[in-house]
Subunit: 401 residues, 2 copies
C-alpha cells in the first residue's frame, strides 16, 4: 500500500478511535513516544497532585497525614485501583517495594505453601528467557529455601512439571520479543502438577486483560511504571489470591504486615488478607504519584485497550512492511494476536546505532542487546498516525545507513 493510502488509513483509524480522547490526559510533545513499555508518559494530573502531597500533606499536616491524608492505607487502596485492570476482585493486591522484592516475597511464600522442600517439592521452575532479575531472585529464593532452580524456555515448562515442582515463575509477556504467553493454560498445567504459579505482569498490566481471578492464578507481581504510567521507579505490587492469603508466609514480615502495627509487639502476628504483602513504611511520594496516574483509567475498559493495541501493532507492522526494504528488519514479535503483547520487536543489524538515530529523529523506542529494536504501543496515548510516522522514520534511517 502506498504512503498516501497508509496515511489516509491512519487518519481514519485515529478519527474513529474511542480511546483517542485519552491522549489529552497525558503530557506529550511532537515526539512519537514508543517507549511506554519502559517508562510510561506523564499523566497531566500528576504534577498538581504531587505538589499538594508535598506542600500541604507533608508541609502543613506533616505527621497527621498518615491518618488524615490516607497515607497509611495507600498500599491497599491503590492496589484496589489496579485490581480491575488485571481482573482481580478487591482485597488481593498491595502496592509497595520493587518488582524484584515482590518476586522474592512471592517465590518464598509459594515454596512454603507448596509444602516442605525437604518433603519433595524442591524445584522452582523459571522462564530462562525472562527479564534477568526474575532469574536472579529465583536463584536466591531457591538457595534460601533449600530448592533448586529449573530454567527452561516457556515452551518447555509443561515438560518439566512434576511432583518435585514447588512453584513456577513466568512472565506474561517476554520483555524482549513481546511474545505473550498463554496464562490460562500454563496456570492450569502448573496446578495439575500440584504446584503454584507466580506471574510477572510487568509487560501486560494496563495493556491487555489478564484475568487473574478468572484463571485461578495463585500469585502475581508487576511494576507500575510501564503501561500504568506511575512514574520512574514507581512502586510495584503483589497479588495474593484471596483463599491463599491465610497461608501467605512472607519472608519479609516487616511491621507494616503485622496484625497490629502500632502495638509494637515483639512477636510477629501476620495481618489478615493482602496486607501480608506489605513490609516497611511505604514511599508515599512515589505511591501517591501513581495513585494520581491511575485516574486516566476512569471509564476505560481494558478490552478496548487490547483491541486498540492489536490494531496499532498490526498497523505498525503493515507500515514497516510497506516502507522498509525487505530483509532489513525481521519482526520477532509473533504475528498471531494470541501470542502478542503490546510491543513490536524488530531484529535489526546495528540496532543500537539505528535506535540512536531514530531517537534523534523524534521516534523514541529502545534498544535491547544485542540486536533488537523495541517499540511499545500504549493505547491510551499512541495513535495510528504515530505508528505510520514511526515506520516512515525507521525506513528513512535505514535508507541512510
Amino acid at each position: 500500500m502506498s504512503e498516501a493510502l497508509l496515511k489516509a488509513r491512519a487518519a481514519k483509524l485515529d478519527a474513529d478511535d474511542q480511546l483517542g480522547a485519552k491522549r489529552k490526559e497525558f503530557v506529550l510533545d511532537d515526539t512519537v513516544y514508543l517507549d511506554g513499555n519502559s517508562l510510561g508518559a506523564l499523566p497531566a494530573a500528576v504534577p498538581e497532585r504531587v505538589a499538594d502531597v508535598i506542600s500541604r500533606q507533608w508541609g502543613q499536616l506533616r505527621i497527621r497525614s498518615w491518618d488524615e491524608s490516607g497515607w497509611w492505607t495507600a498500599p491497599e487502596r491503590i492496589g484496589d485501583r489496579i485490581a480491575p485492570l488485571v481482573g482481580a476482585a478487591p482485597g488481593q493486591i498491595v502496592v509497595g517495594d520493587s518488582t524484584s522484592v515482590n518476586v522474592f516475597k512471592a517465590l518464598v511464600a509459594a515454596v512454603r505453601m507448596a509444602g516442605d522442600p525437604a518433603g519433595g517439592r524442591d524445584e522452582i521452575v523459571v522462564d530462562a528467557t525472562t527479564f534477568p532479575t526474575d532469574g536472579y531472585i529465583a536463584e536466591s529464593a531457591a538457595r534460601l529455601t533449600g530448592c533448586r532452580v529449573v530454567a527452561v524456555t516457556p515452551g518447555e515448562v509443561r515438560g518439566v512439571l512434576g511432583p518435585r515442582t514447588a512453584t513456577v515463575l513466568l512472565n506474561h509477556a517476554d520483555y524482549r520479543t513481546g511474545r505473550l504467553h498463554d496464562l490460562p493454560s500454563l496456570t492450569a498445567a502448573v496446578h495439575e502438577a500440584g504446584a503454584l504459579v507466580v506471574w510477572d505482569l510487568c509487560h501486560t498490566a494496563g495493556a491487555l486483560p489478564v484475568g487473574l481471578d478468572e484463571h485461578g492464578v495463585d500469585l502475581a507481581v508487576g511494576c507500575t511504571y510501564k503501561y500504568l504510567n506511575g512514574g520512574p521507579g514507581s512502586p510495584a505490587y503483589i497479588y495474593v489470591r484471596a483463599d491463599l492469603q491465610g497461608r501467605f508466609d512472607s519472608p519479609l514480615p516487616g511491621w507494616n504486615s503485622h496484625a497490629e502495627p502500632f502495638g509494637m509487639r515483639p512477636e510477629f502476628e501476620a495481618a489478615e488478607g493482602a496486607l501480608r504483602g506489605r513490609v516497611g513504611t511505604p514511599d508515599i511520594l512515589s505511591m501517591l504519584a501513581l495513585e494520581a496516574a491511575l485516574d486516566v483509567w476512569d471509564g476505560v475498559s481494558i478490552e478496548a485497550v487490547r483491541a486498540k493495541s492489536l490494531a496499532l501493532t498490526d498497523f505498525f507492522l503493515e507500515c514497516v512492511a510497506a516502507y522498509v526494504p525487505a530483509g532489513r528488519v525481521e519482526p520477532i514479535t509473533p504475528a498471531a494476536h494470541g501470542e502478542r503483547g503490546s510491543q513490536v520487536a524488530l531484529r535489526c543489524e546495528d540496532a543500537g546505532d539505528v535506535m540512536r538515530r531514530l531517537v534523534e529523529a523524534g521516534v523514541v523506542g529502545d534498544f535491547r542487546s544485542p540486536d533488537v529494536l523495541r517499540f511499545g504501543f500504549t493505547p491510551l496515548y499512541v495513535g495510528f498516525a504515530d505508528a505510520e510516522r514511526a515506520a516512515g522514520v525507521l525506513a528513512g534511517v535505514l535508507a541512510g545507513s
Copy 2:
C-alpha cells in the same frame, strides 16, 4: 527557675544559636513540631525540585532521564551525600528500599560473611527492646539461613556473645526511650567475639555523630524520613564497609546490583562495591525529593548539631521540671549525655489522651503505647523557645486533666 527567666534564657540561647539560620530553610508554621523523629519537616527546596523532576525530567525527557538526569546513579550518589553525616567515606552507602528490607539484606549477608551456620556460627543476636520490625525481620533471616535469634536487652548483649554468634543487630538509639547505645564499645565487643555487627541508625543519623568508619562498623541501615527530612516513606539506605563489599552476598540480587545491568545476562554477577546493596529499579520521585532535602546539610557540622541537640533536650527537661508538678511525668530518657539520643521520652498516665490534647494546643510530639510521650528535637529547625513553649503547654494540659 521562673517562667520569665526561662523565657529569657530561651531567647538568649536562640539568639546565640549558630544553627538558628537553618530554620528558614524549612516550611514551618506556629506549631511546635517535635515529631521530626517520626517525620521530618519539609525542607523548602523540595517542592520546586520535585516539580522539575516530574514536569521536565519525566514529562519532557522521559526515558532519557535515566542517563541525562542522573536517575540511574541516584542510589549511590545520594548515599554519598548521607555518608559524611554518619562518618563514612564515599562508596559505602546506597539508598533504596525500606529499612526493613535493608535489615534483611544486611542480616543475611552478615550471616554469610560470618561463615557457614552449620559450621557453628548460627546465632543472630537482636536487641529485644528494638523497634519491632528489626526483630521480625531477624526471625525471618534466621529461619532462612538456619540460624536462631537470641533476643536480649542491650545491656545483656556482651553476656551472650560467643563462638556461635554470627551477627548482632542493634539500634543506635531506642525508638521509645531515646536511650543512646554505646556504638564504639558494643562494636568492639561483637568483633572480639568474631561476629559482625549491624547498626540501625534510624534514630541517630542526622542527629549526632555516628562514626561508622572510625569505629569499624560492619554494616548499617537507616531510614531517611526522620532527622534527614526526606519525606514520608523516603527510601532507606545500607552501609557496607569497603573491605567487606567483596564478600557482601545479598539475598536480594536484583538486576540493579548486577555488574552489567543492561547486559541482561542470565547469570548473576555481582557489581563491585556498595552497588551490591541495590536491588530493583529505584523509586526516583521519593529518592530525588530526598536528594533535595539533603541540601539543608550544606555547611552544617554534625558536631554542632549534636551540641545543640543536647542543649535543647537539657533545656526542655529543665523547663518540664520547672513547670510540671512533681511526679506527673517521669523522664525515661537518660540524663547522661552519652546515653541520650535526640528525643525526650516522658512516662505519663493517660499518655495517649495527653498527646491528643497537646497536638490540639499546637505542640506535636507522639504517643508510644502504652504510656510514653515522645518529643523529638531536630536541631536544624527546633529552637529553645519551642522547647520552653512545649513544656509550658504540657504543664497546662496536665493541669487541666
